[in-house]
Every structure is written in structure tokens, then in C-alpha cells.
């Protein structure tokens, strides 16, 4: 007996050791599963538990700077199926198929899918309220109507490229909607109906409703009134010239705020599927890159003035129609040349050889320093996706010829927005700004401002004095030179034409230009800079002065009017050309009787409206310049009414 007791004790020791080892391994394993597996299991777990009917958050609204709504939401319910709760899939499928207008098989797939919650995409998503009521009236167990909404752009194609659009899941896909998706989209809410793994609702446990967090409202720098003018002018240009494309930008040169931006061809954000992706993906003002042509001469001019390389009034230049650089003849756009000119006239006439001389006086490094300082060759930093950087010559490869062409805007590639920001800097006193669209974030409920975007001034490139000289020279371009099409009485518009050749495969296309104009006003204190480019206008001479300048003139004139900018009277007078008609001042006719009107002689075509014997209102307003023989409108009424 004694011996075996010892044996048992020894053997017990063995077993206990073995047990301890097993338990130790077990403890390690338990600790690992409990504490270390968590990270990568949590996704799996969440996916497995959520038995929630989602409540989409409303996206924040997008407003213009004055609170005009540009993007909002409309209620559009969605149908959800919880297949495990559907008792008779055949019946449910046939009913759903009829109401939603889909095949029985498709409906059957929906209600029998091995998923917890099935979205009936796309026929059952974001449907009308009427359809939703129809579905609800079917009263099928396991079919739910979830409150949902879809994006609505009340102004249609208006500002479409900048706004972009949101997809079926309310996710921003392009434009501002994409760039600021995080803040606009909000947080989805849910109703958790405490359903278990079998998809059954649990009795005795209250449903939990988690409110969706509405996205923040975004106030843009865009002025809807200016944008409306831009859209109108581009509509007219498209109708008139049938171009391959068109674009326009308006900015506030003193802050970099974008006031308006449009790109053609355009699209309706709610029907973006109806156009090819390149249309909605290419916001031309920030995306496209091309040779700027003569508008680029503003940069050369500003650099030459700042460096003291030219005196516009006193320095003279003789243009024989070409200039020879390194044995190559660079021709002026005007056959036979401009002859003897001051450098101010060189600018007015957009004389290429004259700018070659300015480029040569600056030298390669100085000119390219300025080009880079003005922001070319890199993104402007605007809050939009897909911005182009442009292409500059590699300085090491710049010889005299490249220097010469760069000076008048050939051989470089820039984006429209780069030009606008550079010219803004040239005319606003010399300060380069970062352009931006998002002005303020607003609380969607209280309307309180959550965050304001201040303007971002990058650097001063030229002095106030140089900037003033540039403005003066460019006002001369409009009053006396190639930019006369943009002249508007009283608004002191300055600007520069551009006619860029399009290069495809290393060759310039014949008779296919991008004609452009960049203008600003008023010249004494610019409030707006507007750029327009029309790609390959048909049935017209392809010159920026002819096609683009009048558009910019219209945009600036009407925009300054709505912005409340006073007309000036110290304007540089327009030099009349043979096709200009004489302008007369619009007389003040309000208060005249019809008899007095007939007795007086006005060289105008008069239309009257309304009943009465006294003129109570007139268009245009007194003092405006109108062409002789132009049509004016007079509104008639009774004197007593008028005096009320």
C-alpha cells in the first residue's frame, strides 16, 4: 500500500504539470481572442449586427453669397425589404413588380435575397411620394418605406460644373458636392428595430431612433446674379457661334472670391447620366490648359513696367510686321505691321514684335521669375477637384526664340483660372490671391455661421504704381485698341484680347482658335475681373476682340449694375471707328404728356405701353448713352396715379 501511494503522488504531479501547461496555453489563447482580435473583428461584428433601417441625412444646402439656394433636397422615399420577415415572397414579388414597374423575377430576387436588408435599387429608390404611398398600401410584412431625399438643383444647368452633383446615395461625385462632401453629407441616422440574427423584431424592446445629422449649409462666394448674367451671355454665344466649347470666370480681384464660373457644354446636375462623362468631369475654367495668346501679354507688360524696362508714353517702337529672332521671322498678327508706335500703342494694338522686344529687355530669368510669381505652372489652389497646372518651358531649354514667343503668350500652356488670378494681381495693386468658392459654413438649423473662409493673399508681385500703369494701359486697349468690343460707357473697362492657336499633335490647327478676352472694371478700382474664352467660334473672324470682348463687356456692365458699382465720368473716351454709331444721351421724358412728346423731335424709335396720357416711366434711364435710332420704351399712365 505504501509504495502505491507514492506512485499515485508522483503520477499526480505529472498530470498536474500537464494540466497546468494546458491551462497556460488556454489562458494565452483566451487573452488573445478577448483583447487582441478586437481590431479586425469589429468590422465583421458591426456588419453582422446592424438590423437598422437607415435614415439618410439631408445634405447641407448650397447657397450663393446672398442666400439664394443653388442646391437643396426634396423628399424621395426609398423602399426596403427585410426578406426574412416576408412570409409569402411570391405574393410580395408580384405586388411589388406591378407597383414599381419591374419584372416579377427581379422583384422576386429582391424579396428572397440572402441579405438582412435589401434596397430595391434602382426602381425602388428615391421614388415619388405617390409611389411610396402605393407601396405602403400594399401592406406587405417586411417591406418598409424609409424616409429619404434626393438632391435638387432648383436652377437647373446653372453653375452645374462648379456645383457638381450627388449620386443616388447622396454622396458628392463632382464639383463642390465632391470637394466638400465630408461637411455637406452629414451623418446618417437609423431606426434600430432590435432585430436579432433571424431578422425578427424583438418584443419588449423599444425601437431606437438615432436622428440623422443634417449636413452643414455652404455659402459660396458665387453671386447668383453675376452667374445668371454669365450663363445668359454664354447661351447667346453658343447660339450665335456654335462653338466647340466656351467658358467664363468672374472674380473679385480684391479677395480671390469667385463670383461666377461657367463651362460649356454644360449639363443638368439631376440628369448627369444623359451626358458623356467628359462633359461633367471637365470644368473648363480650372481644368483646361491651352496657349493663352495675347492675354498673356499683360504679364510681360507688368513685368517690364515693374522692372523699369519701358516707358509706355515715351519709348517708341517701329513694327515692320515681323521681328527676326535668331534667324526666324516672328510675324505680327497684322499684315504689314503697325508701323511707328509708342509702347502704349504696342499694348493697344497687341503688337507681337513689340512684346518680343519687352521680353528681350527683361531677359529669360526675369520674365520667367515673373511668370512663376504670377502663379503659372502650379495650381491656384481653388477648392475644386481636377485643377490643371499648366506647362511652362523648362528654363534650361529656353533660347531666344522661346523667350520671344513666351513674351506674347505662345509656347506656354495655362489654365483660364491662372490667367484670371494673375491679371487680378496685375490690376488690384499687385497682390496674388488664392481663388476660392466656399465662403461660409452655416448651421443647417440655426443658420448661424460656423466658419468663415478669409481670403488668402499669397504675395505682392508688383507695386501699386506699376499696377496702376497696367490698368491705364489696359483701359486704353479697350477705349482705343483691340478691345473696343468691351467698351461700356461709364464703367472704365480695361482688358486684353487673346487669340490662341490650338495645337493638336504638335501642330497648330488651321482656322481653329480659342478666342478670349480678359477684362476688369472700373479701371480706377477694379471690382470685378471677367475672363471669357470661346473655343472655335463658327462663321466669324476668330479674333478675341470681335467674339469675346463684347461678351465680357456685357458681363461686366450688367454685373457692376447689380453689384451697385457707380458709373464713372472720368473715362478714357472711346476712339470711334467707321462702324461705330454716334451715341446720344437718353433724355428725361417722365412727366411729359403725349402731346409734348409728339411736339418734340427725338431721333429715336419710340414704343409706348399702357393706357394714359402722361409718361410715368421710361427705359433706358435718363443720361444713358444710346445709339441714334435705337428703340426706347415709354410707359403711360394717368397723372394722378403717377403722383401717388
Amino acid at each position: 500500500m505504501r509504495v502505491s501511494f507514492v506512485t499515485v503522488r508522483k503520477r499526480l504531479f505529472f498530470v498536474l504539470i500537464a494540466g497546468a501547461v494546458a491551462i497556460f496555453i488556454l489562458l494565452l489563447r483566451l487573452g488573445y481572442v478577448q483583447f487582441s482580435m478586437g481590431e479586425w473583428l469589429s468590422d465583421l461584428a458591426e456588419d453582422s449586427w446592424s438590423r437598422d433601417v437607415p435614415f439618410e441625412a439631408e445634405r447641407g444646402e448650397i447657397l450663393d453669397r446672398n442666400g439664394d439656394v443653388l442646391a437643396t433636397n426634396v423628399s424621395a422615399p426609398s423602399v426596403l425589404a427585410v426578406p426574412r420577415q416576408i412570409e409569402d415572397p411570391e405574393d410580395a414579388a408580384s405586388k411589388l413588380a406591378e407597383v414599381l414597374g419591374v419584372s416579377f423575377d427581379k422583384a422576386h430576387d429582391w424579396v428572397t435575397e440572402n441579405e438582412r436588408i435589401v434596397r430595391l435599387t434602382p426602381e425602388g429608390r428615391k421614388i415619388s411620394k405617390e409611389k411610396a404611398t402605393e407601396v405602403r398600401d400594399l401592406d406587405i410584412e417586411g417591406i418598409y418605406i424609409a424616409e429619404d431625399n434626393k438632391r435638387h438643383y432648383p436652377k437647373g444647368k446653372f453653375l452645374s460644373h462648379v456645383l457638381g452633383f450627388a449620386g443616388i446615395d447622396n454622396q458628392g461625385l463632382t464639383g463642390i458636392e465632391q470637394y466638400y462632401d465630408e461637411r455637406l453629407k452629414g451623418e446618417p441616422g437609423r431606426v434600430s428595430f432590435f432585430s436579432d440574427a433571424k431578422g425578427q423584431r424583438m418584443e419588449g424592446m423599444a425601437d431606437q431612433y438615432e436622428r440623422p445629422q443634417q449636413g452643414e449649409n455652404l455659402r459660396l462666394t458665387i453671386d447668383a446674379r453675376v452667374q445668371t448674367i454669365i450663363e445668359r451671355e454664354l447661351d447667346i454665344a453658343e447660339a450665335t457661334y456654335n462653338p466647340d466649347g466656351a467658358l467664363a470666370i468672374a472674380v473679385d480681384p480684391d479677395s480671390g472670391e469667385i463670383l461666377g464660373m461657367s463651362s460649356r457644354p454644360d449639363f443638368h446636375p439631376e440628369d448627369y447620366r444623359e451626358v458623356p462623362p467628359e462633359i461633367y468631369n471637365q470644368n473648363k475654367p480650372v481644368w483646361s490648359q491651352y496657349e493663352p495668346g495675347s492675354t498673356f501679354k499683360i504679364i510681360t507688360l507688368a513685368a517690364a513696367l515693374e522692372e523699369g524696362k519701358v516707358n509706355l508714353e515715351d519709348d517708341h517702337f517701329h513694327d515692320p510686321g515681323y521681328i527676326e529672332v535668331n534667324g526666324t521671322k516672328l510675324r505680327c498678327w497684322k499684315k504689314g505691321g503697325h508701323g511707328e508706335q509708342t509702347f502704349l500703342e504696342v499694348v493697344q494694338n497687341s503688337c507681337n514684335p513689340g512684346f518680343v522686344v519687352l521680353g528681350e529687355r527683361l531677359g529669360k530669368d526675369t520674365l520667367f521669375d515673373y511668370i512663376e510669381k504670377f502663379g503659372f505652372g502650379r495650381k491656384t489652389g481653388i477648392d475644386l477637384q481636377g485643377e490643371g497646372t499648366g506647362i511652362l518651358f523648362n528654363r534650361d531649354n529656353v533660347g531666344p526664340l522661346e523667350l520671344a514667343t513666351t513674351a506674347f503668350g505662345q509656347g506656354v500652356s495655362v489654365t483660364p483660372l491662372q490667367q484670371v488670378m494673375a491679371v487680378s494681381a496685375a490690376v488690384n495693386g499687385g497682390y496674388l490671391y488664392e481663388p476660392y468658392l466656399a465662403k461660409e459654413w452655416l448651421d443647417p438649423v440655426t443658420g448661424q455661421v460656423l466658419e468663415s473662409q478669409p481670403s488668402n493673399q499669397k504675395q505682392q508681385i508688383i507695386s501699386e504704381e506699376t499696377s496702376e500703369k497696367v490698368r491705364d494701359a489696359l483701359e486704353h486697349v479697350v477705349a482705343k485698341g483691340t478691345g473696343k468690343g468691351a467698351f461700356r460707357d461709364g464703367y472704365r473697362i480695361g482688358g486684353k484680347t487673346g487669340t490662341a492657336q490650338k495645337a493638336v499633335g504638335g501642330k497648330y490647327l488651321e482656322n481653329n482658335h480659342i478666342v478670349s478676352f480678359i477684362g476688369f472694371a472700373p479701371a480706377d478700382d477694379p471690382e470685378i475681373v471677367v475672363y471669357t474664352a470661346i473655343d472655335n467660334p463658327k462663321d466669324t473672324l476668330q479674333f478675341g476682340g470681335i467674339v469675346a470682348a463684347p461678351i465680357v463687356g456685357n458681363i461686366i456692365e450688367d454685373s457692376l449694375a447689380v453689384m451697385g458699382v457707380e458709373r464713372r465720368d472720368n473715362q478714357i473716351e472711346k476712339e470711334l471707328t467707321w462702324d461705330d454709331e454716334a451715341l446720344v444721351d437718353m433724355p428725361d421724358m417722365v412727366g411729359l404728356t403725349l402731346k409734348e412728346l409728339h411736339d418734340a423731335y427725338y431721333p429715336l424709335n419710340i414704343e409706348t405701353q399702357g393706357e394714359g396720357s402722361v409718361i410715368i416711366s421710361q427705359a433706358p434711364e435718363p443720361g444713358e448713352k444710346i445709339k441714334e435710332g435705337a428703340t426706347i420704351r415709354l410707359y403711360l399712365g394717368d397723372k394722378t396715379e403717377a403722383s401717388d
Binding site: M1, S4, F5, T7, V8, R9, R11, L12, F14, V15, L16, G19, A22, I23, I25, L26, L27, R29, L30, Y32, V33, Q34, F35, M37, G38, L41, S42, L44, A45, S48, W49, F194, D196, A197, K198, Q200, M202, E203, G204
Partner: protein, 382 residues
């Protein structure tokens, strides 16, 4: 009075009671969604478990005072009843999920194979304590009792229930080992048993599947056992260090299969985190510790083998269950003793612990006698 109370091993009894009550709370927490689902009664499983606890405590109290030595007289009866009940299961048992393990008695169902575990421990402890003189001989000493064990194993495999059958082999093997059989014989028997169990595991397709799913649960998620294991992982990981709080398990909401039986530890880990896990492990440690101490103090070889057999039986069950829950071993359907829902397993654990308690009680009584006799009469020669 105090002398009577002193006879009990209160640490052992306290740990048993604490585990059982803790189990009851956790069964409620883990099973109320299932109870609502099955019988629209969140207390459905708790009520049943309470009945079993009442019966179990009654049996426990009686057996605690039943001198363990007397079991030796009933060994032939116990073995006979065990074998008969196993045959009965094969013949008229209730089939649940493809295995025939239960016999229904009125509203309650009993799983005889659970009770056979104790029968085997009692039987082997008895036989080997009697055969000490020729335990070194294979044919005469070691083998004959094992034939009966293998017979029982075969009957259980007919249900089929590999988990329980393996437990019986393992517990039986431990008793044989402890009783001092030769290493040579033990290695041979161990190899044979391993071969048999492996063969059975690999030949039945569903067991093979479990085994493969256990190796790579995420690959085989769609299949039952891979899914179970993943749900168990998720529960434990969800609990983390502090747990989600009592009643806050998400996984019990029909995600984790068998949340109140085989996988109750996963729910405990999810809701109570490290605290729940530690509580359970400490209780089991106390039981095992007191059991080993009682066995070592026992002057009788039968009592000693019996105590160790019971301790290791409970230990194996616990290890198997925790290993399955944490993915260390394939899922075998072995419950967590005293904690998991289930009448038979609770009753068997309580019977085993009552026997262990009785051995401990006797050991204490000896201590007390020894002390008092030493104190009363210093001339007593031991």
C-alpha cells in the same frame, strides 16, 4: 454545532455554489432572447435550470453525507445500469440534430452518457484500487476493466457523441495512469486510443468538416461550426477588457448559437470581460485545489483515485469547453460544468462534487479527530 460545521470544506462548497448561481444569472442573460423566441418567456430557460438546481442541490446534500466507501458495494449495479441506459438510448432515445443522446422522462430529458462519466470514474477507481498487486501486468491487471470502458465508448459513439466518448477515455486514462500502470502499457493504450479517436474524427464527414472549419473558421464561415467559432470570437473581442456590461451582449441575439449552453463563456466574456473570466477561472481553481488536497489527505486508495478522477473530469470538461470557445480545439459540444444550461450536466457535476465533498469532509474529520485527540490525550501514540 460548530464542530459539525467544521467538518465541511467550505471553500469547495462555496466555489460550487458561487459558480452555479453565477451560471444561473448568465443563463438568464444569455437565453432571454432565445426564450422569448421559443416560448415567449424570457425566463423559459432560467425556470428549467432552477428546477434542475433544486433537484441537484437535494441530491448534492444527500450524497455529501453518503460515505464514499459505500459506493464500492454498488459498483456492479452502477456499471450495469450505465450500460443498460446507454443501450436504451440507442434503442429509444430522442433524436436532436442528428444525434440520439437523450431519454425523455415526462417533461424533462436526461442524457445518460453524462452519468456514465461518473460511473466510469467510480468503476476504474474501484477496480484499480483493488488490483494494486498486479497492476504491473497488462492482461491480468490493466486490460480487463478497459474492455468495459471501450464497450461504453462504443455505445456512446453509436449516438454518436465523440466529445463525451473522448472525455470518458481521457478520464479513464487518467485514472489508469494515476493508479500506477506501467509506462509501456500506458503508451500503447494511449496510442491506440489516439488512433481510434482520430480515425473516428476523420472518417465521419461532419466531424472532418468541424475539424477543417476549426483550422480556418473564416474560410468556412458559411458552414455551421466555422460560423459558431467566428461568432464566439466576435463576442469575446466585443467584450474586450471591461466587457459590455451585464445583459448587454449583442451576440446572444441569435448571432451566437447555443449562447446559454456550449458558448455561455463567450457571452460571459462579452458582457463581463476580464472580470467574468477571472471569476470563473478562480472558482474552478479553488475546486480543483480543494479536490487535490482532499485526495492527498485521503487514506484510502479508492478515495484518492476517486477524488483525482473527479477533479480531472471537471478540469477536462472546463478545458475542452474553453478551448472550443476560443478556437484552440474543435467544437465538441462539451458544456461548462456548473455554469452552462442543462440538467444532466449540472446534475452530474453536482453528484461528482458531492462525492468529492464527502471525501474532503472525511479528510477534515480525520484532521479534527487527530487534533482533538492530540489535544485531549498527549500520551496517544500515532
Amino acid at each position: 454545532m460548530s464542530r459539525i460545521l467544521q467538518r465541511y470544506d467550505w471553500v469547495l462548497l462555496g466555489a460550487v455554489f458561487a459558480l452555479m448561481m453565477f451560471g444561473l444569472v448568465m443563463i438568464y442573460s444569455a437565453s432571454f432572447p432565445l426564450g422569448i423566441d421559443m416560448a415567449e418567456d424570457p425566463f423559459y430557460f432560467v425556470k428549467r435550470q432552477l428546477i434542475w438546481i433544486t433537484i441537484g442541490l437535494f441530491v448534492f446534500f444527500i450524497l455529501l453525507h453518503f460515505p464514499y466507501r459505500l459506493y464500492q458495494k454498488f459498483i456492479p449495479l452502477i456499471v450495469t445500469v450505465s450500460i443498460l441506459s446507454l443501450i436504451l438510448v440507442v434503442l429509444i432515445g430522442t433524436n436532436v440534430n442528428g444525434s440520439q443522446r437523450w431519454i425523455s422522462i415526462g417533461p424533462l430529458s436526461v442524457q445518460p452518457s453524462e452519468f456514465v462519466k461518473i460511473a466510469v470514474i467510480l468503476y476504474l477507481a474501484y477496480v484499480y484500487s483493488k488490483k494494486q498487486k498486479y497492476i504491473n501486468q497488462f492482461i491480468k491487471g490493466v486490460l480487463p476493466p478497459l474492455i468495459i470502458v471501450v464497450f461504453m465508448f462504443t455505445l456512446i459513439m453509436l449516438q454518436p457523441d465523440l466529445g463525451t466518448a473522448t472525455t470518458i477515455l481521457l478520464v479513464g486514462g487518467t485514472v489508469v495512469f494515476l493508479s500506477g500502470a506501467r509506462w509501456r502499457h500506458l503508451v500503447t493504450l494511449g496510442a491506440l486510443a489516439t488512433l481510434a479517436v482520430s480515425w473516428l474524427a476523420f472518417t465521419a464527414p461532419y466531424r472532418m468538416q468541424r475539424l477543417v472549419a476549426f483550422r480556418d473558421p473564416f474560410e468556412y464561415e458559411m458552414q455551421g461550426s466555422g460560423h459558431q467559432l467566428i461568432q464566439s470570437y466576435i463576442a469575446m473581442a466585443h467584450g474586450g477588457v471591461t466587457g459590455t456590461g451585464l445583459g448587454q451582449s449583442v451576440q446572444k441575439m441569435h448571432f451566437l448559437p447555443e449562447p446559454h449552453t456550449d458558448f455561455i463563456f463567450a457571452v460571459i466574456a462579452e458582457e463581463l470581460g476580464i472580470f467574468g473570466m477571472l471569476f470563473i477561472l478562480v472558482c474552478y481553481f479553488l475546486i480543483a485545489y480543494r479536490g487535490v488536497v482532499a485526495g492527498l489527505k485521503c487514506k484510502q486508495l479508492f478515495g484518492r483515485l476517486l477524488a483525482f478522477g473527479i477533479v480531472f473530469f471537471l478540469l477536462f470538461q472546463t478545458i475542452f469547453n474553453l478551448a472550443a470557445v476560443s478556437g484552440l480545439m474543435p467544437i465538441t459540444g462539451i458544456t461548462l460544468p456548473l455554469v452552462s444550461y442543462g440538467g444532466s450536466s449540472l446534475l452530474v457535476s453536482l453528484i461528482a462534487l458531492a462525492i468529492l465533498g464527502n471525501i474532503a469532509k472525511e479528510a477534515k474529520q480525520q484532521d479534527i479527530k487527530h487534533h482533538s485527540s492530540v489535544g485531549a490525550d498527549k500520551t496517544f501514540q500515532a
